[in-house]
Symmetry: C2
Subunit: 209 residues, 2 copies
C-alpha cells in the first residue's frame, strides 16, 4: 500500500500523521547518524570501503527518486505547532543534528542534555568550538523566543576550557527583554563544570512584535 | 589483497599513503553527505524508507567490524603536516563537515568558498546561525594560528541579516597579535554582501609559544 508522505505544499498535518511520520523518519535519520560516525572511525579493508560506498550511492538514489526541490523548511500541525525536521541542530531528519532536545521548566529556564561523539570533534578529543556555538546559539535562540519569535542578532562565546566529547549539559535563561530584543545568557558544561559561556541578543523581525 | 589502513596508533604516514587514503575515504564520506541531504528531502513511499533504513544499518555494521575506539583525532604525515579527518568543519571523513577548504594568499588573508545545502538549515531557506558560527570559528581559528597553534578564547558574531542557503564566501585576517593572543576579524557573505561579522580572540596554550 502506498502511504501519504510529508509534502511541504500540503497544509498543516494532523497529530496522528505527525506521529506516524516521526516514527518513520526518526529511525532512518538515526541510522544515518550511526553511519556518519562509522565513516569517521572505520578501519576495515579497502574493498569493504568501496563496497559500502557503492551501497550508499544506491540507497541515496532510491531516496532521491522523489524529493523536495529545496530544503525542508518549517511545517505546522493542525494544533499550530511548528516542526523543522531539516534543522541543523534539532532536525529529526537531519543527521548533521545530534539532534538537540530542548526542555523547559515552564519558569524561564531552558536546557538540553546531549552526547556529542566523533562527528563533532575539533581539537583531538574535544568538541569543535563551532559546534559548541551551534548548541548554544540554538538553545539561547529558543530561550529568547519564548514570548515572540526572534532571530540571532549577536552572539558572544567565552571558551573557558576545552569541552570533552561525551555527555554534556547546556542551559539558558533570559536576562532581559526590551521590546523586540531579548538578552539571553547560557552555559555549556561537562561533569566538571562550565566549559563555554554564551550571551546572545535575539531580535524579532519588525513585523512580528 | 588486504591493504594497510589508517591507524591512529601508527606513526606519521608517507605522502603516497596519504594520497591513497584520501582517494579511498574522500568519496565514501562524500556519498554519506549526499545521503544526509536525501534523508532530509526524500518523499518516497514508506516501504522504500524502511528498505533504505535496513540497508544503511547493514552498511554501518560492515564499517564497524573494525574501528577506532574513539574519535579520529589528529595524525601527521612524514613531512610534518597534520590532518584531522574527523573534524566537524574540515574533516575529509566527516559527513557533518561541508567540508570547508581553507585557502590563503600567503599574505595574511584566509578564505573559504562553500556551498551549504539543506543539511545546514536554520530558519526556512537560511543557514542556521550556529552553522555560520561553525564556519567562522574554524576560519578565524586557522587565520589566528598561522604563526602558532591557538584555540578559541572568545568569539563574537554579529548577524546582519539571514544567510541564504547556497554558495557562500567567508574570509578573515589577523587584526593584531599580542604574545599568546591573536585577534582575528572575518565575515561571511553571499552574492549580495556580508551577512555575518565575526571577531575572535584565539589563545595559544601556555606551553606552545
Amino acid at each position: 500500500m502506498k502511504a501519504a508522505q510529508v509534502k511541504l505544499t500540503d497544509g498543516p498535518i494532523d497529530l496522528d500523521e505527525f506521529a506516524r511520520l516521526k516514527a518513520l523518519y526518526g529511525p532512518l535519520a538515526e541510522s544515518v547518524r550511526e553511519l556518519v560516525d562509522a565513516t569517521i572511525r572505520t578501519e576495515v579493508d579497502d574493498e569493504v570501503i568501496r563496497e559500502v560506498h557503492a551501497e550508499i550511492e544506491a540507497a541515496t538514489a532510491k531516496l532521491r527518486a522523489r524529493q523536495l526541490d529545496g530544503s525542508f523548511g518549517m511545517r505546522t500541525t493542525v494544533t499550530g505547532e511548528t516542526f523543522s525536521w531539516g534543522n541543523a541542530s534539532v532536525g529529526l531528519r537531519n543527521a548533521v543534528a545530534p539532534p538537540l532536545v530542548i526542555e523547559s521548566d515552564g519558569a524561564g529556564r531552558y536546557w538540553t542534555q546531549v552526547t556529542l561523539g566523533a562527528a563533532y570533534e575539533g581539537p583531538p578529543g574535544l568538541v569543535h568550538g563551532g559546534v559548541c556555538a551551534l548548541v548554544l546559539d540554538h538553545l539561547l535562540g529558543v530561550t529568547g523566543s519564548a514570548d515572540a519569535r526572534r532571530l540571532t542578532g549577536t552572539l558572544t562565546l567565552r571558551y573557558r576550557r576545552g569541552t570533552p566529547l561525551g555527555p554534556l549539559h547546556a542551559e539558558a535563561r533570559v536576562a532581559s527583554v526590551d521590546g523586540r530584543k531579548a538578552t539571553v545568557r547560557g552555559t555549556l558544561s561537562d561533569a566538571e563544570g562550565v566549559t563555554v559561556e554564551a550571551e546572545g541578543i535575539f531580535v524579532a523581525p519588525a513585523a512580528s512584535v
